[in-house]
């Protein structure tokens, strides 16, 4: 900078005498502006602009390219001060007036850029350019066009040009000038249609092909926006287009086709009486160029054909036959004239080498098939051929056209076409398959066989394209709804197959089963008559709920579907089903009895038609039933009785299924069982709850399922004795997990009835037995001890209810009595024998079951905002604790673990909690004593309950809990960092 200021006086002094110094001075300031910054820079820039402005006309010639570039930089730079920009702007306008024409295009470009970057100046630029325009129009030259171009670019709206300017430009000697005008007229330059039309018509006779093309395009634009009231004008334009259809240049022909299509239709719409006549003319005219050698012309032709509004049937039929048709009645004069032009136009299009053309034909058929039913039938033949096309796009378009036809009720798939059409359902392009299925949804099939084969193809589809499952289900549901009579015919077959598979003879969860269920439950959808579909089908369908609910998403949501299923399944009690399945096999047997009173009403008044899927009447009924069933002691249940009872029933369903699968476990088909367990688990986790009771029930069921799942897994390992070395660790892990879960089941739920408690205890005994089969000698005694306690408890329960112990429990009892020295003497084999006797009991969700759980949150704590602590001093951790269903005589603890394994327990005084019903809340600052000498550390905090259930291993912690802790919530991580 020092250098710059040093040279400044010298430089100025050096130049100040000469008249040509000013621009150089301007350049100099410009140069300065590049190096300086901030205010200084602004000053320099302003200075340079001022210098430019003061220039004389002669000297401005010396503005160098470099100046333009630096101006450009200033314009593009967003930080350039406003004053500089406006001074640049003034300079530019000024130089337009005074600099030679060779500079003008550069300057105009700068002005355009400036206006786009600084919109505030745009209007000013427009005005000044407009004022300069008149001087340049005589005669119009390239420069005029450059001015206009700049105007058009700056202005956001189309620029209006006065008539004389427009005509003089259009008649200009220079062809690029004319081309520009024609190209922009009607879009960026506004000209009155009355003036534009004759000029464009004249321009279509230009010797230059590109001007001809552009004038035709402009006519298309004009036709799209302007309204003409004079027939002769429209006709004139149409005829001009027709003439140019035989132009030698491809590009002209393309535009001519568009003109013919657009103006021809305008012509046709002028007179209602002549509409058909003119439409036929236009149709034939377009068809006559269908054999053009240029692919784009052909595409354009079919695009044009797709816009036809009315065409006589004979001509349409003619377009499908290469031979001239012999008509039944004497043909009209017009037909005789046009027939040979039209002959086979669409057939040629379909046979075309270029897929773009074939695609376009299919699209045009969409409009044409609407015009005549007979034609639609004939065109379908053509479309069926197109389904063989090698291009996915073409096949897809053909199907879309068929779909369009189906919507317009002109699609009639005959039997011989059906075969081909069903092939398409198996197409390997998903796009095509989806499109084909869209058509199936709308189809009305004529006979039972077609229905059956369609169904078979869809089911086959499920195997080959599992990813399409949701869509296929949805199609099946439509198919069922549309063809109730056919579904009824095969209902028994389906029922047999489904029942068989549910009884464990085949796989439970196959997509096929779900699909069959969808089909059969959709049949009685819109009418109350269930027909021959056995109610048990509906109850089976409920187990697939989340999988199939999307199939009905167009008419009802998931909850309504469930309700619908439950109502249908309970609406008619078929005694034979109950008998065949045995007492208690039908999960709804209990409900059925209670529902009997309300049955008639539910059955007759069920109406499912609104999209929301609400069932107002049935809701009321079920509510009544629910009130009967449940003692009115729970507030939550009163709010949403329907939903909750439904959910409970549903959960019971799943639990009832469990005993059924046991034979499969014993027959070593664990994989299948696991698969269905996983499926049920998913179903359960996807349930939503409105109140706590079903949530508790569902939590119980979920845990129960998890245990069963682990049991099955472990069973598979143990009983089959096929463990490999790598599996051993895994097995240990699973056994540990099983143990943990079993304890959870015991401790975290309260409110079992005696019978249920026995089932649960039995399950726990099973888990111990499994462990004993496996365990090392050292841990054996301990487990055995625990098992003995549980056994004694079970026995006492049994005695209380004077029940007979199951084979498993009895055998286990014998074993325990025999072994005097803590089970160590018992061989694994003995336990194995016990295991073989085990079979799970049917378990219903206990009505009063409560889930003991806790919610723990530490407010304002995350890795970014750690809690403060000072090493060695007690840190307090603020906790918001909510515990559910825990009575005040329980002993609850907060457990805090640090990474090195040290654990600290803090006793929670339940009396101090704020009590509302079964929920207790407290905000409590938990103290942590042993803060380490580190900068930061993490604590894992959670809430546990002392397990009073089996007090076998007292934990010898100082001041800690005396029994094992059962965790009630997830561990939370607390971040602490040292106070600086």
């Amino acid at each position: 900078m020092g250098v710059l200021s040093a040279i400044q006086p010298f430089e100025l002094h050096h130049h100040h005498t000469a008249s040509t110094t000013s621009p150089l001075k301007g350049d100099y300031y410009q140069y300065l502006a590049k190096f300086k910054c901030g205010d200084e820079r602004k000053e320099a820039a302003d200075q340079s602009m001022k210098t430019y402005q003061n220039n004389t006309p002669e000297s401005i010639r010396l503005i160098s390219m470099q100046t333009f570039t630096s101006m450009m930089n200033e314009i593009l730079n967003p930080s350039t001060p406003k004053s500089t920009v406006s001074s640049i702007f003034k300079t530019l306008i000024h130089s337009l007036l005074h600099s030679p024409e060779s500079h003008h295009s550069q300057i105009l470009k700068l002005i355009t850029d400036l206006s786009s970057h600084h919109p505030s100046l745009a209007q000013l630029a427009l005005d000044s350019l407009q004022s300069m325009l008149p001087q340049l129009t005589d005669p119009p030259s390239q420069l005029t066009i450059e001015y206009l171009d700049a105007l058009v670019n700056i202005s956001e709206r189309p620029v209006e040009v006065d008539d004389s300017l427009f005509t003089s430009i259009c008649l200009a000697a220079s062809f690029p000038v004319r081309l520009w005008m024609v190209r922009n007229s009607g879009c960026r330059v506004m000209v009155r249609p009355k003036l534009l039309y004759p000029v464009l018509m004249g321009m279509t006779k230009e010797p230059y092909p590109c001007v001809r093309e552009e004038s035709l395009e402009a006519l298309v634009r004009l036709g799209e926006c302007a309204v003409f009231e004079e027939v002769s004008l429209v006709k004139g334009c149409y005829e001009r287009g027709v003439q140019l259809l035989s132009d030698n240049e491809d590009c002209v022909r393309i535009s001519a086709v568009r003109v013919v299509a657009l103006w021809g239709l305008m012509l046709a719409s002028f007179n209602v009486d002549m509409k058909t006549y003119w439409s036929n003319e236009v149709f034939a005219m377009l068809c006559s160029v269908v054999r053009d050698m240029n692919m784009k012309v052909r595409v354009e032709v079919f695009n044009g054909l797709g816009k036809m509004e009315i065409v006589s049937k004979e001509l349409l039929m003619q377009s499908l036959s290469k031979r001239v048709l012999v008509l039944d009645q004497s043909p009209t004069e017009q037909f005789v004239l046009l027939a040979s032009n039209v002959a086979g136009a669409l057939v040629h299009g379909v046979e075309d080498e270029f897929f773009e053309v074939r695609k376009s034909v299919c699209q045009s058929l969409r409009a044409l098939t609407v015009l005549s039913v007979e034609f639609a039938h004939a065109a379908l033949n053509l479309l069926m051929d197109v389904l063989n096309d090698y291009k996915v796009e073409v096949r897809f378009q053909a199907l879309e056209t068929m779909h369009h036809m189906a919507i317009n009720h002109c699609l009639e798939l005959q039997e011989n076409y059906m075969h081909k059409f069903l092939d398409v359902l198996e197409d390997n392009s998903s796009e095509v398959r989806f499109s084909a299925r869209k058509i199936v949804r709308l189809m009305k099939l004529r006979n039972h066989l077609l229905f059956k084969s369609t169904m078979d193809v869809l089911l086959k589809n499920l195997d080959s394209y599992p990813q399409d499952e949701a869509d296929i289900f949805s199609v099946l549901s439509h198919l069922g709804r549309n063809h109730k009579q056919f579904v009824d015919l095969i209902a028994n077959e389906i029922a047999d197959e489904v029942t068989a598979s549910f009884e464990g003879n085949r796989e439970f969860n196959s997509a096929r089963m779900a699909a069959l269920l969808v089909l059969s439950i959709s049949a009685p959808f819109l009418n109350a008559d269930v027909g021959p579909i056995p109610p048990v089908i509906f109850s089976f369908a409920a187990t697939f709920l989340s999988r199939i609910c999307c199939a009905f998403s167009d008419v009802m949501n998931r909850d309504t579907l469930l309700e619908y299923l439950i109502q249908k399944s309970s609406s008619m009690v078929q005694p034979e089903v109950n008998i065949s399945n045995g007492e208690g096999q039908n999960p709804l047997a209990k409900d059925d009895v209670q529902n009997v009173a309300g049955n008639e009403m539910i059955h007759s008044e069920i109406t499912i038609n609104n999209g929301e899927g609400q069932l107002p009447l049935s809701k009321y009924n079920v509510q009544n039933v629910a009130l009967e069933m449940k003692p009115p002691n729970d507030v939550g249940q009163h709010k949403q009785p329907v939903h909750d009872s439904v959910v409970l029933t549903y959960i019971n369903y799943i639990l009832v299924k469990l005993p059924n699968i046991w034979p499969k476990v014993q027959s070593y088909s664990a994989n299948e069982v696991l698969c269905s367990l996983r499926h049920w688990k998913e179903e359960l986790t996807s349930l939503t709850f409105d109140s706590s009771a079903p949530a508790d029930a569902s939590a119980f069921a979920l845990l129960y399922l998890k245990i069963i799942k682990l049991v099955v897994e472990v069973w598979d390992h143990l009983v089959r004795k096929t463990e490999v070395v790598s599996g051993t660790v895994e097995l240990e892990d699973k056994l540990e997990k099983l143990d943990r879960r079993a304890k959870e089941l015991m401790n975290r739920f309260v409110g079992f009835s005696a019978e249920e408690e026995i089932s649960v205890l039995e399950l726990i005994l099973l888990t111990y037995t499994l462990r004993l089969c496996r365990a090392e000698i050292c841990s054996r005694n301990f487990i055995f001890k625990r098992m003995t306690i549980i056994y004694l408890r079970t026995e006492s329960f049994l005695k209380l209810r004077s029940d007979v112990a199951s084979g498993f429990v009895a055998e286990l009892g014998n074993l325990i009595r025999e072994s005097s020295n803590g089970g160590a003497s018992c061989s694994s084999l003995a336990f194995d024998n016990c295991l073989k006797l085990f079979s799970p009991k049917r378990l219903m969700i206990p009505e009063g079951i409560r889930h003991r759980r806790a919610e723990l949150s530490i407010p304002n704590n995350c890795p970014d905002y750690p809690l403060p602590f000072a090493p060695g001093l007690t840190a307090s951790i603020p906790c918001d604790i909510t515990i559910h269903n825990i009575s005040s005589n329980c002993r609850a603890w907060v457990r805090m673990c640090i990474n090195d394994g040290f654990t600290q327990h803090v006793y929670l005084d339940l009396q101090s909690f704020e009590v509302s019903g079964e929920v207790r809340k407290i905000s409590y600052a938990v103290p942590y004593y042993r803060t380490p000498e580190v900068d930061s550390f993490n604590l894992k905090v959670c809430i546990g309950l002392e397990s009073l259930f089996e007090n076998v291993t007292p934990v010898q912690a100082h001041g800690g809990p005396k029994c094992e802790l059962v965790l009630l919530c997830e561990e939370k991580i607390v971040y602490l960092s040292r106070v600086l």
Binding site: Y197, V199, E230, S246, R291, E353, N381, D385, R395, N428
Partner: protein, 632 residues
């Protein structure tokens, strides 16, 4: 001026294509074929009509052959015969077994060439469209030849010539190929065919030799290659250009010979007169071949073939669909499908069709291709990509359309493997070889399908099969029970009458001459062209001359003012005066545009004193008239 067309061959008949056109003083011979059906002097065109003195060099500017050939490899598995299958019909020449069965359409187009150039003595240029150029010398196995020659086959591979040398002991003792250099096909096969033909005529029929092997070689030296859409300036005035005609096939017979045959349309322009000679062409695209493509030209004359002048073919799609349905039905019922084909050409098309279908339908039934020529077909289509359909061009850069996903290589064990399959087996007409063997095994089963793609010559099993007999007697000892289903597929590479009409309509020439067709068909087509398009049409017989007027542009000088006006739009706008407007009612005002276009076409042609024509603008006329007056 007129364009004179002298039809030397193929006038009101099929075969012996030869048309001499005198256009603006240039005489061009299109095709130089011979008639395969006759053996006397009528076999060749009557060349004396061109020049009674025999001075053909001055009488003719050039010869253009529209049909081309290309030869790839000579497989010498069977040494004793050579059969060439060419578009219309089947066998050119079978060395031992079928002597004398010579009916080849491509000789229709160039059969008489050597005779004309060498014997009659024409030394001017000969043009052929060319794909690959090779010179093949076919050496007759006779006592004069030594048996230990070495065979060399050169295959161009991106400019480098690979040389495969095969020792003679690998070859038959009777036939040796000396060289087969791959570059230009027309020249490749032409001499081969001609040489064979010569031998058949001379040696078997004992006819007088009309030309010898040296003549063939000499003739081929005169041939100049033309690429598609390449414009060739023959001399100062004459310019020719070849267009793709969509008539192009690959053939193979018993893995013996593989070649490409195709045709082109030729556009010739002399001065202001233009004409097109089509040869054979096809307007309907195929799976592997595109439709003919030509620009819109201002033609004075179109000479077109009219083989199928009255036929209109239905959509090919319907036939394909039937075929696919039949095959699908058969394989899904567990049956076997036999498709007897030649290894290439039509087989390739069917393969594309089926491979697509398999792909779409996810069918897993194997397709076997017995002739191991897929690889060679790939080589071919890669070289000839310009001659194929859009489908193949599209898929060419990414994956070759002939890398079939579902087609497996045939192995003998396939024959006895149970379960469904599809087998392409050669030869096409079940005349022997594998296809006959397979036929014998499979024909007795009801769930077998035999699909015959194409025409079967009388005397072959294929031909008999078409009548669906319960039994076929191969020889007195062998009878086959035929219980299988038979499906026939018809394809033809020629255009139908709709195609001819479409081409004429697109080109809109001023005159049309029909050749290469039967007379009644020509007559009806001629009527149709005349009535529907109003284009004068002729169908001359052989040795007749048709003269049609040609466009002649007169040279004239244009004035500067005229030139200037020409660059501007030739109309001006007339503005309605305000008086006129005021008279009209309000509604009229909206309708009638204020400006009306007035055409400014006034152009005057004046003849000045030096008898030169001059074009002037109407503005100038007054001035000129004024000058004249003062002069007078």
């Amino acid at each position: 001026m007129a364009i004179e067309t002298l039809v030397l061959g193929a006038g009101q008949e099929v075969g012996k294509s030869c048309v001499v056109v005198n256009i603006n003083g240039k005489r061009i011979m299109f095709d130089c074929g011979m008639h395969m059906g006759v053996s006397d002097h009528r076999r060749y065109p009557n060349f004396s009509l061109i020049s009674p003195t025999g001075d053909f060099d001055t009488a003719l500017s050039c010869i253009i052959i529209t049909h081309l050939y290309c030869i790839n490899t000579l497989f010498l598995r069977f040494h004793y015969f050579l059969i060439i299958k060419i578009s219309h019909s089947l066998i050119l020449y079978s060395y031992i077994f079928f002597f004398g069965i010579i009916c080849d359409s491509h000789l229709d187009h160039l059969g008489a060439l050597v005779y004309f150039t060498e014997v009659c003595g024409f030394h001017g240029p000969i043009y052929m469209t060319v794909l690959i150029y090779s010179t093949v010398r076919w050496v007759e196995p006779n006592k004069h030849c030594h048996l230990n020659s070495i065979c060399t086959i050169n295959i161009p591979k991106q400019g480098n010539h690979h040389v495969h040398s095969i020792h003679s002991h690998q070859l038959s003792k009777t036939i040796r190929i000396i060289a087969c250099i791959f570059l230009y096909p027309t020249k490749a096969l032409a001499p081969l065919m001609l040489e064979d033909y010569r031998k058949v005529l001379v040696e078997r029929r004992g006819e007088e030799e009309q030309f010898n092997s040296d003549h063939i070689a000499e003739c081929m030296k005169k041939v100049i290659a033309v690429d598609l859409r390449q414009t060739i300036q023959v001399d100062k005035d004459l310019q020719i250009r070849a267009y793709y005609a969509g008539h192009f096939t690959l053939f193979e017979y018993l893995t013996l010979i593989l070649k490409v045959l195709g045709a082109a349309m030729f556009h010739a322009k002399v001065g202001d007169s233009e004409m097109v000679y089509t040869g054979d062409y096809n307007m309907t695209p195929d799976r592997h071949l595109g439709a003919a493509q030509i620009d819109r030209l201002r033609l004075d004359l179109l000479i077109t073939e009219s083989t199928y002048g009255t036929t209109i073919r239905d959509s090919k799609y319907a036939r394909e669909r039937e075929f696919l349905d039949a095959v699908h039905k058969c394989v899904s019922a567990g049956g076997k499908v036999l498709i007897p084909t030649f290894g290439l050409g039509r087989a390739q098309e069917l393969c594309i069709l089926m491979d697509d279908y398999w792909e779409r339908m996810n069918l897993k039934v194997p397709i076997y291709f017995s002739a191991g020529l897929t690889k060679q077909a790939n080589v071919y289509y890669k070289m000839l990509i310009n001659w194929t359909s859009q489908k193949i061009k599209d898929s060419y850069p990414t994956n070759n359309a002939f890398d079939f996903k579902n087609v497996c290589k045939y192995e003998r064990s396939v024959l006895d493997t149970p379960g469904p399959c599809v087998l392409f087996a050669s030869p096409g007409m079940i005349s022997g070889g594998l296809s006959l063997e397979v036929f014998k095994r499979w024909a007795p089963f009801e769930n077998t399908l035999v699909a015959l793609p194409g025409y079967c010559l009388p005397g072959t099993v294929g031909h008999v099969l078409m009548s669906k007999p319960p039994k076929i007697e191969l020889d007195p000892n062998t009878k086959i029970d035929v219980r299988c289903q038979v499906h026939q597929l018809a394809f033809s590479p020629h255009t139908d009458s709709k195609g001819i009409m479409d081409l004429i309509k697109f080109l809109s020439p001023k005159h049309v001459i029909l050749v290469h067709g039967e007379k009644p068909k020509m007559v009806s087509l001629k009527e149709k062209i005349h009535s529907e398009m109003g284009i004068p049409c002729y169908h001359p017989a052989n040795n007749e001359t048709v003269s049609v007027p040609s466009t002649v542009y007169v040279k004239a000088q244009a004035s500067d003012a005229f030139m200037e006006r020409c660059l501007k739009p030739n109309f001006k706008l007339h503005k309605c005066s305000s008086q006129e407007l005021s008279i009209k009612t309000l509604t009229d005002k909206n309708i009638v545009p204020e400006l009306q276009v007035i055409n400014e076409k006034a152009v005057f042609i004046v003849e000045d004193k030096s008898k030169k024509l001059k074009v002037v603008h109407n503005d100038e006329v007054l001035v000129m008239l004024g000058e004249k007056k003062t002069e007078d």
